[in-house]
Symmetry: C2
Subunit: 175 residues, 2 copies
């Protein structure tokens, strides 16, 4: 099996151009790898990885309205409703009407939600290590920093910028 493709045509002279393409390929590989690892790690959490993200945002920062949080996580507001339904049904978060604007709702973690979250952080760490396994310690830090820098810039371009709302006073986006 596996015919060992070294026999056929092979790379062409113009393969330098082909390398540029690899940003998209590499981004896809890493993203899918992370999504897969995170989904496995959070299999028992309602909503999976995004359920975790919502719980973390509700616990550790000021998530704002449902819509702001949805935008921050890159999901539709209707999806956020389903996500919060599941988390609330599981007793992990609660929706409180915002006194300032009674149309909006503020998301708060329950005691159970807070307790669960601390355990989940360890699992996330393992999943991240799996994705960054090809990098050394210093390389991982560089990669994290550059990735967050790019992401912060991209998210601030978005109108109604999400990151600014979540990270009080932090000017670097979500990082």
């Amino acid at each position: 099996m596996q015919p060992r493709s070294g026999d056929a045509a092979g790379a062409e002279p113009g393969s330098r151009e082909g390398l540029r393409n690899d940003l998209g390929w590499a981004l896809g590989v890493v993203f899918r790898g992370y999504a897969k690892a995170a989904s496995a790690a959070f299999a028992d959490v309602p909503g999976g990885p995004r359920g975790y993200q919502v719980l973390a945002a509700a616990t550790r920062s000021e998530p704002g309205s449902q819509q702001q949080l949805a935008h921050h996580l890159g999901v539709d507001r209707t999806v956020m409703t389903y996500l919060l339904d599941d988390l609330e049904r599981a007793g992990l978060i609660e929706r409180h009407p915002d006194p300032a604007d009674r149309r909006a709702r503020r998301i708060a973690p329950t005691e159970r939600g807070r307790a669960l979250l601390s355990g989940l952080d360890e699992r996330l760490g393992a999943a991240e290590e799996q994705v960054l396994a090809g990098l050394s310690g210093p390389e991982r830090e560089s990669f994290r920093a550059l990735l967050c820098q790019a992401a912060g810039h991209a998210s601030t371009l978005d109108p109604g910028a999400s990151a600014c709302v979540l990270a009080d006073g932090a000017d670097k986006g979500g990082c």
Copy 2:
């Protein structure tokens, strides 16, 4: 509008832990940004960004069988069939039976496919710049290198490794 969330609870002391989470968030932001930009750039290409990736692989490297290419791009083999159907219908690629294994098919670009591809590369460059806008020139190169390193490692872990098949003799995965 926009109540300026600086008034409420704010970040908690334990926000250091929250930062670890941002790898997933940043990865999502950058990936979605890239996907969006690439989809817009390749709106008229059958299959969008992945149609481009297939066309590029068929033209500039040895894509192997449909299944190998599908694995490399992280899609199901059935999806690859639909993708190739569209590209073939548009006259961009052709499927030739593999003489060595007549179950398999080798994908080859048509003249029209080759001509289209060179024009698409420019569009891709613009899309990439958009995603990396938050990074300086040297930072972009570092980011590319680290990302490809991580992706290369991740894809070689996969059994039936995809990158090795595509990159003749290249030991660094697809990069």
